[in-house]
Subunit: 341 residues, 2 copies
């Protein structure tokens, strides 16, 4: 347990990545009680330094002993690293909040969005999983609707930014953008297809019956977070040439009818949600306008023309921030409030 006067000893695993860097920023911006900070990464990043709250940290190569004296370990270095080192961190007495997919669907691992299912944090074995960057905004919007009207069916089409695949794809999008601007043919090395001036309905690992990993995550994680194991839900995931923020076009069938007006009011009063919905005045959220924001933005709220108890919605959220780093830090804040750190 921590020495609360001096703050917590925090380790960021994957400190050189986009999400690790955003975790640094978020900890500083929210005045998270960091006493000591440790920047960990794989051997590839050994010797690098990272900036965090104005201080420079040398990146240490992760090993089993990295977590001695650490209170809180924020993992964002991929599923393999989490599988290998999260147990060692727990063994050392640290609370792990893991941004990878490694632990999300394990039975004794809470998968938490603080606005949605904070009480799931109470029962844990030292590892808390941070959901997928599309699942988080989706559940923040679905939960108020679920409580008010029940959920019958959810169909999602995503518009996911390059940063969801990491800094390499953001850089490739930049390079391709420059190539197009200069009249050159864009090079494709990181992703499956050209992303600039294109959209790509794939790039994730194929897993079952034509679905990819990302789509299955969205389905399974949403069911777990909402405590609706039988929820009828499907998704088609598409990558778009946007640096940051994911969009989602969602059709929701509720169990009981809810009007678009009532849904607008309900969502406007829900935690972590901002409604921007006046299309006649050109007001709706876009990835560019939501980048850097903490909240999940919703617009284009309509009664579904094809159903008497359906809604159509457009959701946008900063995938690096609320979809990853911010949600992880919000989880840690909740754990502190509950006395778990």
């Amino acid at each position: 347990m921590s020495n609360s006067n001096q703050g917590l000893s925090v380790a960021i695993v994957g400190a050189t990545g986009m999400v690790g860097q955003e975790m640094c920023r978020v900890l500083g911006q929210r005045k998270f009680p960091v006493g000591k900070l440790k920047a960990l990464a794989s051997e590839r990043s050994a010797g690098m330094t990272v900036q965090c709250n104005g201080n420079t940290f040398e990146v240490e190569t992760i090993d089993e002993n990295s977590f001695d004296g650490v209170d809180l370990a924020l993992f964002s270095a991929g599923a393999d690293v989490s599988l290998m080192y999260a147990p060692a961190a727990v063994e050392s007495g640290a609370m792990v909040i893991d941004n990878s997919s490694a632990w999300r669907m394990k039975e004794n691992v809470p998968l938490v969005v603080p606005e949605v299912n904070p009480d799931d944090l109470r029962e844990n074995e030292g590892i808390i999983a941070n959901p997928n960057c599309c699942t988080i905004p989706l559940t923040v919007v679905l939960e108020p609707l679920r409580r008010e009207a029940g959920l019958d069916r959810v169909l999602v089409s995503t518009y996911q930014s390059a940063s969801g695949a990491g800094k390499k794809l953001v850089d490739e999008l930049d390079e391709q953008t420059k190539a197009i601007a200069a009249g050159r043919v864009p090079e494709v090395t990181v992703y499956t297809h050209q992303l600039a001036h294109n959209v790509v309905p794939g790039g994730w690992k194929s897993v079952q019956e034509g679905y990819n990993e990302e789509e299955i995550k969205l389905v399974q994680e949403t069911r777990k977070i909402l405590h609706e194991p039988g929820l009828r839900i499907a998704a088609t995931c598409v990558r778009v040439p946007v640096p940051v923020s994911h969009g989602e076009s969602v059709f929701v069938d509720t169990e009981r009818m809810i009007s678009a007006d009532d849904a607008r009011t309900l969502l406007g009063n829900s935690p972590g949600v901002i409604v921007e919905d006046d299309p006649a005045a050109k007001i709706y959220p876009t990835p560019a306008s939501v980048a850097g924001k903490d909240e999940v933005y919703v617009g284009r709220i309509r009664n579904d023309l094809s159903s008497s108890r359906g809604l159509a919605l457009w959701i946008v959220s900063d995938n690096v921030r609320k979809g990853a780093a911010l949600n992880a830090v919000q989880i840690a804040e909740r754990v502190i409030e509950m006395g778990g750190l």
Copy 2:
């Protein structure tokens, strides 16, 4: 009626626009029997010249007498011009094929996709309407499914390219791309929001209960073309930073169960459709790969995880070509086959 030995006298209204220019190319590529060609446009384009099949044509300003001796008038100059001049063209004895939305929902005007409802051409009063650029590919894919398994409900989320809004937005996307590549802030003058490195869930005129014109067109036109006036269908339309080709993520509930495998075979044997569907091998259609192609491409064909009789699909089609110019010329070819020209 035409003098078939010398070919038809064809007028292109809106000859200087993107679709008008594509009509020129398509007429040439398909060796359409053009005897004489007339390039018409509004006063703004007076004095300009256009290239068509290697010949240069001076653009004439449209008026009531422009259609004397014209057999076929292809209109693509917006709904106002079509409303004003299509009746004059018919009066002069021309067959009008209109790419605007002006006449599409009128009772005695056939709205035709040649692969889907060619027989609707038989009853007409001189004006045939060419459907919306999202409706055409959607119906080409839905019709075989409708015949095989019946349609219960269709939910569409679009990924629409800049060219759907005309050359001005394509140019704005280019300018914004150059600005981003040079580290400048992109200027926004044509569209409601920055399009480069962004996606915009609007930009069309708001019409009813939060829906915009584009979404309502997709709904109403699909019902008319498929002869399913009660079809349950809804759409969310989104503009993406792509020059050409529209994508559509579609969830279809059929009346009778059809497996993804059977749907793949069925669509692979359907007119005007090409199936590209092997995501594990990174094979799925993208706007960049479909640009310039005649067919409607379908991939990501899956059984909907949320329904026992549902399919998820990803459709891509060149909106300037099959979504507009090509479909109009294919209609004219069908009319010729039927002896109507």
